[in-house]
Subunit: 214 residues, 2 copies
Amino acid sequence: MDISVLHNSILFKGFDDTEISELLKALNAAEKKYNKGAMIFSSGEITDKLCFVTAGGVTIESNDMWGNRTILNLVGKGQFFAESYALLPDVPMLVDVCAAEDCTVVFLSMKSLANLNDTIRSRLLANLLTITTRKNLHLSSRSFHTAPRQVRGRIMAYLNTVSVQKHSHEFDIPFDRQQLADYLNVERSVLSNELSKMQRDGLIRCKKSHFEII
Amino acid sequence: MDISVLHNSILFKGFDDTEISELLKALNAAEKKYNKGAMIFSSGEITDKLCFVTAGGVTIESNDMWGNRTILNLVGKGQFFAESYALLPDVPMLVDVCAAEDCTVVFLSMKSLANLNDTIRSRLLANLLTITTRKNLHLSSRSFHTAPRQVRGRIMAYLNTVSVQKHSHEFDIPFDRQQLADYLNVERSVLSNELSKMQRDGLIRCKKSHFEII
DNA sequence: GAAAGTATGTTGTAATTACAACATTTTGGG
DNA sequence: CCCAAAATGTTGTAATTACAACATACTTTC
């Protein structure tokens, strides 16, 4: 198991190596690898597992019965997912979780939190609070990206956020065209088309997943 | 101050009356009333206040420079808002918070958490974790309501959720037409029009904010 | 209970998006 | 290097939505 990524995670912030090893045991840490496209969780499932991505990345998505996909979030290396469902274990998942690329996930049993001593548990809970709080901001930021009525507005809203996060006008985004379209809730072809227009209008330059705001 | 609503809140679950009174003091609880339409927070503000609605309701919204409003969430009596910003006090708010109707809000200083003793604080943090986790589910449920590409799909997605929550095919929604339109990210007139069509098609019955799914 | 104000419903047209079909480019094996 | 497969770009048409303008219904206040 790739311990080093876990050691730098928010969840184990403030814990030393020994404590982390013990915690991993106590929480029945289990690692699993997935190929790109594999489904890790399906809508309707119940889980008490807090999930941590140690390699690759996964998408949190909603797939309707007509095959339309909406990507709610992309969870990369070093980040957590399913924390809400793990902590509210009677709530069935509303989303699917898929491997966006080949990836490795570590599962931690939140049911086992009850067996920990008070001090350790409350330190863990404080860290969990940071995780859920940040996830909250992440979820709402998608709302801003999809709030504009027009495609160009959504693209700009999204690119702006990334640009601010990366402190640069030039950056790579973690999505391919189809994923970006599904994230912004627009047609892939319309997205491609609009990106072309925006380049012609001198707003941006882009090639594949590399973007530059002008 | 309306103590009874606070006593039944998730935040103070497990605390007795004496403890709650002391906590309210320790967290500098302050109450404020707002008239319908008043702005409680504006995008860009910084706050460490956990906010609790003791009467009325507020909307969490994003207003762009062209006057388009997107309602991300409606926070009613007995619920909290701004918890993410209160807990990450260096992050400026991305949203506006407005009084959806005349309302009363209690502000609790999260900065003051540091002054509490360990036991009390960790009990509070555990409750805060519940609040943020539930808020997470709430935020993602809006994503499902806006995921369908067409207006009818969005309306149905939303009405289904409410129907399930209220365990009934007949219910009131907390939005007026303009608010519902802003929540579903569609034009108000298009929404009204589609609701009429859906009634003609025998899918629903509705009058003002009262709905029945057939 | 009128009048004014607000909320909701209706309609037509302009603008935008969805969808399908196809062209082009890129990628990864063999 | 070539081929096949995947990803991205382009285009045209049908369908949907945005927007404005107006009609109707409901509320509030005097």
